[in-house]
């Protein structure tokens, strides 16, 4: 039994798989899922996860200039935070760090309620958002996601992998629940009643 165990380790060493996964993550420009890594490495998903655990320890903040993180539904390398200033002097950030209020509101609507159409975004914001949506598509933060059912249905939009990477999210499920945001409904009603009361008075 002991001999068999030793043979297995010798036949399929994890360290070799770790190096393969590391190489795959280096050549990819977008996050890779466990299944994608398993397919490329021609190995089992469970062993890929074990290899990723080793790599996460090796590439973590404070230990390496490269950090392995779980983001946008997969695993990807990024620069460590302590090297951010140097990176900023060398390359442009992936997305402008200051987005307008209109852009942030539009992103929030699509992230929480998407895929959704431009008229739906306009209804929620109270202002047409065609220009804002076009700008966000151009920046790669939104992408088309089919059309509304029926002939001539409006184009639907969704957030992209770049959006998740820029905001450091594994998926949109990582956003705080919408119900917990925006305060109490009773407070809004009280304000409306106060305004109506002044008018009547």
């Amino acid at each position: 039994m002991e001999d068999r165990h030793l043979r297995l380790i010798a036949a399929r060493p994890l360290e070799r798989l770790v190096r393969t996964v590391e190489a795959l993550l280096v050549v990819s420009s977008s996050p890779l899922s466990v299944d994608e890594l398993a397919q490329a490495a021609e190995d089992e998903p469970a062993r890929i996860e074990a290899a990723l655990d080793l790599l996460k320890e090796r590439y973590r903040e404070g230990r390496s200039g490269i950090v392995l993180e779980r983001v946008a539904g997969g695993y990807a390398f990024r620069a460590s935070r302590e090297a951010a200033s140097a990176c900023a002097r060398l390359v442009e950030p992936p997305v402008e760090r200051t987005l307008s209020q209109a852009a942030l509101e539009t992103l929030a609507i699509v992230a929480y309620l998407g895929p959704c159409t431009r008229p739906e975004i306009a209804r929620l914001r109270g202002v047409a958002s065609d220009t804002v949506v076009a700008g966000l598509v151009e920046r790669g933060l939104l992408a088309e996601a089919g059309r509304e059912p029926g002939a001539g249905g409006a184009v639907r939009y969704r957030v992209t992998e770049l959006f998740l990477r820029v905001f450091g999210l594994e998926s949109v499920a990582g956003l705080p629940p919408l119900e917990d945001l925006g305060g109490e409904a009773s407070e809004i009603r009280a304000r409306l009643e106060a305004v109506a009361g002044r008018r009547l008075g």
Binding site: V27, S28, S29, S30, A76, F77, R78, A79, R81, A83, A84, S85, C87, A88, V91, P93, P94, R97, L99, S100, Q101, A102, L104, E105, L107, A108, I109, A111, Y112, A122, R123, L124, R125, G126, V127, A128, D130, T131, V132, L162, R165, V166, F167, G168, L175, P176, L178, E179, L181, G182, G183, A185, I188, R189, L192, A196
Partner: protein, 251 residues
């Protein structure tokens, strides 16, 4: 301060207020893209700066903004507005509160994203096109060279000559029908058009009808039809004139 002196810096427009109005009225700028609240805020800020209240100018501004708001509301929510009209006041208030609540949550979500973006501002990662998959080699099934030669031969065959027969189509003479109808009206007081057209082709029937309209225009014939699609009767105009004359003289 006159509204036209107001300088605006909006997402959709930058420039004087009167130019914005002109662009909206010419439909060169969609009103739905314009944030009217920011126009009002800009105006109020300018009022604070000048420290002088021109009531007439303020009234003018209020009127303009009210007009813009109404136009924008119609443009944004044509159907929704119609729905709201049917609501009772209490229901409308409830709907308004619901919408405000919805928007407030979205604004809070936008604030969360803004804060998150600030916190994550030191994220740098490689960006590039999607990784290329190995190119698949397309393998063709075994081919027969004779089948290829047959296909080429079919393509090299002389195409059949196109028929230009339809180019030589001649239109029947309207003059011929004019003469024919004039001759008929000299012989008879009236005739039935359908009877005269019987046996003619569609083009000849069309020419005959044009000739008839020409006669009617020149008052050489009068047309009668009891009801739509009933037979058209052609009458000599002299009959009508003489009957009218008789009626007039007897009266």
């Amino acid at each position: 301060m006159r509204p036209r002196d107001l300088h605006l810096d909006l997402d959709a427009f930058e420039g004087p207020f009167d130019l914005l109005l002109a662009l909206i009225l010419k439909e060169e700028l969609p009103l739905a893209e314009v944030e009217i609240a920011r126009i009002v805020v800009a105006y109020v800020e300018r009022l604070v700066e000048v420290e002088r209240l021109d009531l007439e100018a303020c009234g003018e501004f209020l009127l303009l903004v009210a007009g813009l708001l109404e136009l924008k509301a119609r443009e944004l929510f044509p159907q929704v507005d119609a729905d709201l009209v049917d609501l009772e006041p209490a229901e409308a208030a409830e709907e308004l509160a619901r919408r405000l609540e919805e928007y407030r949550r979205i604004k809070a979500a936008a604030s969360w994203l803004s804060e998150r973006l600030r916190q994550e501002s030191d994220r740098f990662f490689r960006l590039g096109p999607a990784p290329l998959s190995p190119r698949l080699s397309r393998r063709l099934a075994p081919q027969d060279p004779r089948a290829l030669a047959d296909s080429l031969r079919a393509l090299a065959a002389e195409p059949s000559t196109l028929s230009l027969a339809h180019m030589g189509l001649s239109f029947p003479s309207i003059e011929r029908f004019l003469d024919r109808f004039r001759a008929l009206l000299r012989r008879r007081l009236r005739f039935d058009l359908e009877t005269e057209l019987r046996g003619l082709g569609r083009l000849e029937q069309a020419a005959a009808f044009l000739a008839l309209l020409e006669l009617r225009k020149r008052e050489e014939a009068r047309l009668e039809q009891a009801y739509p699609f009933a037979p058209i009767r052609v009458l000599r105009p002299a009959v009508e004139r003489s009957e009218e004359w008789k009626t007039a003289t007897s009266a």
